[in-house]
Symmetry: C2
Subunit: 139 residues, 2 copies
Amino acid sequence: MNGTATIGRIDHVGIAVRKIEEALGRWTPWLGAPANPLEEVPTQRVRVAFLRVGESRIELLEPTQPDSPVGRFLDQRGEGLHHLAFTVPDVDAALAEVARSGGRLVDTRSRPGAGGHRVGFAHPATYGGVLVEFVEAHP
Amino acid sequence: MNGTATIGRIDHVGIAVRKIEEALGRWTPWLGAPANPLEEVPTQRVRVAFLRVGESRIELLEPTQPDSPVGRFLDQRGEGLHHLAFTVPDVDAALAEVARSGGRLVDTRSRPGAGGHRVGFAHPATYGGVLVEFVEAHP
């Protein structure tokens, strides 16, 4: 697989927040209101809102439990940039490509993420401290 | 000014790295090589490389001095996501809008950034821990 050809665009930039309603108050004057209502993603133990910006989105993430990945992130680092998501045609193929090239993974297989799209995370160690998510390409 | 109308797209996502050549080795298999050679931005005391992804770019930032904003970021937080840049038609107007709405600024006026484009930074406190950069709209 030629990895270069598989990344389509930045699907979204994930931002960890303590209170999603407060965060929306900061962002919606610039980006407009979310197209969809707040969504709970049980597999990641977060409530999320997506704000469209060009071909990408900003994802605001509020943990639903303190002892969750985003809850621990907030404890350790505070609010701020959390992850970077790229569209790929095939999430499982992208994860396999990371593993084949010696990278570490959070998810060895894709799973359902926000909006029901297939997603999968590489480990931050693979991309120099950046938590990278692959999201199946969608409109 | 209606802020909602002024954000065009994600211009780039800035990633702080210790060695830009090593970071390019991680990212170019996915995103392809930089369109332009490495560039030094004296006003920010960094060397940068931009990798195109869709309508946006990934900016890799290596500090040229330890006692610089990105150098201190690396000391305190390590490598990883550093800032989020949006295109706006007028950087000074965007900075003025942040100030008018009670936000804090790093730059009260725009200044030349990478590629010679006008840029300006809001303070992370304004956007819940996210360092936001405004970049004048360009092709």
